[in-house]
Subunit: 323 residues, 2 copies
């Protein structure tokens, strides 16, 4: 097989987004521009033995999860995704499973009308996906990490803890057999849900000052927002949205539930910093959003309140360079 | 060191392009849009032991060459580059040399006012750069691979053969000592020259039907153009622009000069398909462009004429999947 034949086989997963002038198969893809909007662009990697293992995810789930992570960055700016480019390193084990990987990718991009605009492929000894996502946001409507204000409330979509909970259960060899709590945690670990519709409703109704997606953990990611905004973010352990599955695991292991929730990465939930006067509107939206804390004017940092304790969580989560 | 500290150190290489609204350090970079232009976007990989070896390139040259390859794809559409995103896998050997790699990248992007818009970093056992380049082209002015027409002439910028020549010399252990012909070949192998200024002059003066950059070799890349355009491309061995260094090597090894020229990848020269009536204008431009062949209406393919022989070159060059 020639490289071009391999790539041609993947063109079947291309579906045009209205903004795409030319899809894959030339030196570049082409996208039309609109003056009232700005482009947003980001890249993320999903690598064997760093981000996934074959005994934990199917090939379909590898594709699904990798592309979700990349698109999540577009949402975290308040943007609408348009397309993705995939730089793929493919190994012998995966080369005949590439259609499964692309089906996983396709099921995500198709849902949101995002085009696979092209990419690159290399034969390698490990499977890697480096995915660039491009999207757009109305001019001056981008939501940065750096604009959180003292007095804001801190809210989070969905729930926290299941991906980390699944990893802990795996490490402790608790995942064999059919268990409701394992299944519940694995569901989000394997197929994270992007908050696309929720975000559109939020942005149409609420003024949001700052936003970040939870990719490395509430601890690290809230610290990123706090540091860039020069504020202090304080969340409350008893307010974190934690599902019964994670609570069950915490109890079983005799650890605090919030340890799991705060360190859990690959959540792709949105962490929002919202002016206090908007709180009433949040409740009216009836969306899965929980108010978990507040922003104060103090030394930049991120903390959790657990009873009488105020604990630094700025390093809690997944730091690739920590090991 | 934390991941964020590692990335913060690299922000010093960010210089804004006028179109960049927000550089690195948030979920995404932001670029403004212009309605009279379209975006062009592409991704390319540069990987240890596939695309480079430490004994052949310095860290500076690894960065220089990797980003040149990515920007070349923007030029090959007739585009002007705006920015790049770098998904970096860094190993222990390279982690303290990352500034050298970025200096190499910076020297290219700075020259063309291209912004390093951000990226991703992973600790890994091998050094890899997956670089996405984004640029733009005036609406309806993109130059595709698929629009070559029978009757066109085929032209190439610069010269062909030096990168492949250097690799051959390396494999045959001919590179020790100071030799004028090795130095001449290495110069292009290590620091390929993008045809940015030449392209601007060409596009301001000449109508170009189709274009591709030579990344895998004149053989494979001319075939890509021929296949997508459904034409036959014929080049002449005695017209190929081959420098004395490559001629010297060919003579030394008793192989035909054009074998080296046709199989030489990582050239980043532009292969142009131009209507015959534009030929006079090309000569007036006094640019390093050579007419090397023509386009005919025949079975799609790419061939070279060597005396009485017509030889298929469609597979000559670097095909990652061939091994």
């Amino acid at each position: 097989m020639r490289e071009d034949d391999f790539l041609n086989n993947l063109f079947k997963y291309y579906k045009p987004n209205p903004r795409v002038v030319l899809g894959p198969n030339d030196d570049c893809a082409i996208i039309s521009q609109m003056v009232n909007k700005n482009l947003v662009i980001s890249v993320d990697a999903f690598i064997e033995n760093i981000h996934f293992r074959y005994d934990m995810l199917s090939f379909y789930e590898i594709g699904y999860k990798a592309v979700s992570a990349s698109i999540s960055d577009i949402l975290a700016m308040g943007g609408i995704p348009i397309g993705v480019l995939i730089s793929l390193n493919i190994n012998q084990k995966s080369i005949n499973r590439v259609d499964e990987i692309y089906k996983g990718i396709f099921d995500v991009v198709d849902k949101y009308c995002v085009s696979i605009l092209g990419g690159n492929v290399e034969k390698y000894d490990r499977l890697e996906l480096h995915i660039t996502a491009i999207g757009e946001v109305k001019k001056d409507m981008q939501i940065l990490r750096s604009n959180s204000k003292p007095g804001d409330i801190i809210a989070i979509t969905g729930d926290l803890g299941r991906p980390r909970g699944y990893l802990i259960a795996y490490e402790r060899k608790l995942i064999s057999g059919v268990k409701w709590w394992i299944n519940d945690m694995r569901e989000k670990f394997a197929k994270p849900n992007l908050r696309y519709e929720e975000l559109n409703k939020i942005l149409s109704n609420i003024h949001v000052n700052a936003m970040i997606d939870i990719s490395d953990g509430l601890g690290i990611d809230s610290y990123r927002m706090a540091k860039l905004s020069e504020v202090q973010i304080v969340v409350y352990a008893n307010k974190l949205p934690i599902r019964d599955s994670v609570k069950y695991l915490a109890k079983k292991l005799d650890i605090k539930e919030w340890f799991i929730a705060v360190e859990s990465g690959e959540e792709y939930e949105l962490l929002l910093s919202i002016p206090k006067e908007e709180v009433g509107k949040i409740e009216k939206l009836k969306l899965p959003i929980t108010i978990i804390g507040e922003v104060i004017e103090d030394k930049p940092g991120s903390y959790i309140i657990d009873g009488d304790l105020k604990i630094d969580i700025s390093k809690r989560g997944y730091d690739k360079f920590a090991n």
